[in-house]
């Protein structure tokens, strides 16, 4: 066998984490992206900066604050305890919540660009054709922003796969629950299992390259409103 049982388990966990995070962000991302793309509010700047924070923040810093928030004395921790969900840190769902924060800008920013590229005119046209704003969003904005959704989804998934610092802070290193591929590689190296580390690292390298290759060569000609 090319990869060990534990490696495969880590990869499967990584895929589940990244897939779930991407799905959740497909719901949470568009409203923020839409607001940022359309608003003339003076809050646009501050909100945009907060959304973009994970891009520049060291993952350990983000993970530290999330750990505090989800911990027994943090607001999120109090909430989850009170609602009977227990504690999030060192669980798979804790990782999901952290990943959602960590990957938020990777969903929001491509979508925001796609929404901005659409401009006002198609929305005005739809309004003169009796479409309500919500109807317009689903019948005009979503189809026109489809390339944006695709690249946002790919970026979010790939970025979550590459997560390491936040996972260590929130999830630790529990096989089957929080030990994702990047942590598994770290473990291999720590244990001086260089051959195992090589194989898993090679898989990750190939994956990342293929994703980026797809993103850069598949260049959808963004159609403007004719």
């Amino acid at each position: 066998m090319f990869l060990t049982e534990a490696d495969l388990e880590a990869i499967w966990l990584t895929i589940r984490l990244a897939g779930l995070t991407t799905l959740i962000l497909f719901v949470l991302g568009p409203p923020a992206a839409w607001w940022l793309a359309r608003t003339r509010s003076r809050w646009k700047g501050p909100v945009g900066a907060v959304v973009a924070l994970p891009l520049v923040l060291p993952p350990s810093v983000l993970g530290f604050y999330l750990l505090l928030a989800m911990g027994p004395n943090g607001p999120v921790g109090q909430l989850t305890q009170a609602s009977g969900l227990g504690m999030l840190p060192f669980t798979f769902w804790g990782l999901v919540v952290a990943s959602v924060f960590y990957s938020y800008p990777f969903m929001v920013q491509p979508l925001q660009n796609a929404f901005e590229a659409i401009g006002d005119r198609p929305l005005e046209v739809a309004a003169t054709l009796r479409a309500s704003p919500l109807d317009t969003f689903f019948s005009v904005v979503l189809p026109l922003a489809r390339p944006g959704f695709l690249s946002a989804g790919i970026l979010t998934f790939a970025h979550t796969v590459g997560e390491f610092g936040v996972v260590l802070m929130i999830g630790g290193n529990i096989p089957g629950a929080t030990r994702v591929a990047s942590v598994q590689i770290y473990d291999h190296v720590e244990a001086l299992e260089y051959a195992d580390a090589h194989r898993l690292a090679g898989v990750m390298l190939a994956f990342s390259f293929i994703v980026l290759l797809g993103l850069y060569t598949w260049n959808p000609q963004r159609k403007k409103v004719a």
Partner: protein, 356 residues
């Protein structure tokens, strides 16, 4: 008669729109003015695409906007044609047409089929918008606006983005709309020839204000307006083809006040036409001009004299029967001829433009 009553006050940096208008329920009303005159802003306010802080808009007794009420664009029973056709690129031509038709409760009134037939776009239905020519796109845009069954059609310079050839391709369709649809059309344009050809009613705008409004003929004959029209100053006469002289390839056009000869455009005798007479093509003389290459000579009486934008020129309105024409002459000519109100003159017209 007045079915659309609009009053708007809109204050943007560097631009103020301040209008109070009553618009007729029938025919084509042209909102005419140079760019920046506020005609498109006015149209957008009527459509609800702009929301002026102060305004009152009533269409056939239904309040679209006042201090407390606001009817959003998608609930207003209107059709809107944008300057660029703005077709949805993700839908076929038919998909574009059906987009509004399916969402409209009044779509039966004109109907998809009639819109397709009226604009002659039957062969295009399965095409994608990006495979259409500019003229075809605009025809689809107009049909799409009609397919919702609007009670009023708003058109924002639908020809401005097209070259002359495409314009000529679409104008006949616009004339069909005017003649066959029983809904009022608001038509924004900065092109005097389009206005002369299509409009029944004229609203002239300048710097966010209405400077003249009324039926096309009398409004064009106002002497305070031609100043702003410059080289395009002139009148439009409602007329009829009276006879055709095949030998000379000329057509006689009869109007209320006399007859004019024009080049024969093979328009059949009896057909109603519009004749546009530009002020710069009209000259005046006191005595019989005698032999001249100019075929069109009418008798009239000076009705009004006004200033032109150049201090050396004057505008003279001459009554000819039940109609009138405007002549642009030099101030010196007017003085030498001793023109005054009531002076009988011979009116020579060098050329006229026939519009079907």
């Amino acid at each position: 008669m007045s079915e659309l009553s609009a009053r708007f006050y809109l204050n943007w940096p560097g631009f103020t729109l301040d209008v109070d208008l009553q618009l007729p329920d029938r025919g084509v009303t042209a909102l005419f003015g140079h760019s920046g005159s506020g005609k498109t802003s006015l149209l957008r306010c009527i459509a609800g695409l702009e929301r002026p802080a102060h305004g009152r808009l009533v269409f056939r007794g239904q309040i679209w906007q006042d201090e407390t009420q606001w009817l959003p664009t998608h609930r207003r029973p209107l059709g809107y044609v944008f300057q660029e056709a703005s077709l949805f690129p993700h839908l076929s031509v038919l998909g574009n047409l059906q987009y509004g038709q399916r969402r409209s409760a009044t779509a039966g009134r004109i109907g998809l089929e009639q819109a397709i037939e009226l604009l002659g776009i039957g062969p295009l239905l399965t095409r994608r918008p990006d495979s259409l020519s500019g003229g075809e796109r605009q025809r689809v845009g107009i049909a799409r606006a009609l397919a919702v069954g609007p009670k009023i059609l708003l058109m924002d310079e639908p020809l401005a983005a097209l070259d002359l050839k495409r314009k000529q391709e679409i104008l006949p369709y616009l004339e069909r709309l005017r003649d066959e649809l029983a809904i009022p059309i608001l038509y924004v344009s900065h092109a005097p020839d389009e206005v002369a050809r299509l409009a029944d009613h004229l609203v002239a705008m300048e710097q966010g204000r209405v400077i003249a409004a009324g039926p096309l003929g009398p409004t064009l004959a106002r002497l305070d307006l031609p100043i702003r029209l410059g080289e395009d100053a002139g009148v439009v006469l409602e007329a009829q083809i009276g006879a055709i002289e095949a030998e000379w390839q000329l057509a006689r056009v009869d109007f209320a006040g006399g007859s004019l000869w024009s080049r024969n455009h093979d328009i059949p005798v009896g057909r109603r036409v519009r004749v546009r007479v530009l002020a710069r093509d009209v000259s005046l003389s006191l005595g019989d001009p005698g032999q001249s290459s100019i075929q069109n000579c009418l008798n009239g009486v000076v009705e009004a004299i006004g200033a032109d934008d150049h201090p050396g020129l004057q505008l003279v309105r001459v009554r000819v029967g039940a109609s009138c024409v405007i002549a642009r002459i030099t101030r010196r000519s007017a003085a030498q001829l001793q023109l005054g109100i009531g002076t009988p003159v011979h009116v020579q017209i060098k050329s006229v433009a026939l519009m079907e």
